[in-house]
Subunit: 192 residues, 2 copies
């Protein structure tokens, strides 16, 4: 469920941008979160000197035959566990999104609510960044494919393997916050 990579590094350009005082605020450990009922992606990055490294990333998988309420408990507990273990001080979650219909939107909302209640209860600041802005920040193009985001995240954090798409989205959200101020509109999040 949770893969760990210690010591992976972001490219120097990213590291330098993120080391500019005042741009990344004072958050040293950033949690990126892409919630969904069956496969919540998350990624934690930590600033080490002038660089950002991947600390943990993965997915909270809830099988199709699990009841919704059981999934919500699993998501809430996993988030509590991750936050307790790695002590991030900010969580970046996907903002505006696409949903097929109201029912889908509500179920996605339930997953978000279960995760964010745990996270906010632990005292983290929660910000929302639109998916387009994440793609823009990571790949340079707001309409980029999920695969392209995963590949770029792998390169930026020098991971030995490409993360799963959901885990990559979590890392991408965290990195987008880390990169803020590096380009127009990049990483600008809204506190929720």
């Amino acid at each position: 469920m949770q893969a760990r990579v210690k010591g992976a590094r972001v490219p120097q350009a990213v590291a330098e941008a993120s080391a500019v005082p005042g741009r990344v605020k004072s958050h040293r450990v950033v949690l990126g979160l892409d919630p969904s009922l069956r496969g919540t992606g998350y990624g934690l990055i930590r600033r080490e000197g002038r660089q950002w490294i991947a600390v943990a990333f993965g997915e909270v998988i809830c099988p199709r035959n699990w009841e919704r309420s059981r999934c919500l408990v699993r998501i809430a507990q996993t988030m509590r566990d991750i936050v307790g273990r790695h002590a991030p001080t900010i969580c970046v979650v996907e903002g505006l999104f696409f949903a097929q219909n109201h029912q889908t939107a509500m179920i996605l909302g339930e997953a978000r609510g279960a995760a964010l209640a745990s996270i906010a209860e632990a005292g983290l600041e929660v910000i929302e960044i639109a998916p387009r802005k994440v793609k823009q920040a990571i790949v340079g193009y707001g309409g980029a494919q999920k695969h392209a985001v995963a590949k770029m995240v792998q390169r930026m954090l020098r991971l030995s393997e490409t993360p799963t798409p959901d885990a990559a989205d979590g890392l991408a959200l965290a990195l987008t916050h880390a990169l803020q101020g590096q380009g127009p509109g990049i990483g600008v999040g809204k506190t929720i």
Copy 2:
């Protein structure tokens, strides 16, 4: 935030229906929940012999100027507190609902997710009943107004005052479960 009424009774007809063995299963304390970000309504009823009494009901109010994540924490914590205090074993939540758009549906979903994660984590069974079925069971008409539901809930539980609309919805959901089997389709919920 939380009003308590002890000793209020359901009318005899309701009490008798709810006392039929096997119809109300083994749940003695039922939590009804009508979640929303700013005003989550809840109602707890308990079976005492052949009658159902209101144990607690009210609203979790989150002011407009609170950030969403703060509301989610408040909702999750209040639910944990209520469940810990009154030990319900089943939670009945509104099923299909009306939402103006996807954003509204997602925000409503967040409130539901925060509440249900707490509730399910405490081991409660969670079932969903459509609002129309609740109105049908309580007022006898699926298109009933909120006010009519509140009035009927007041009468059924012999409350001294009409509950607020949101608290009444919580009580109505709980009562609908208690009434199950009393009429065609009444109280039939779906485990989620």
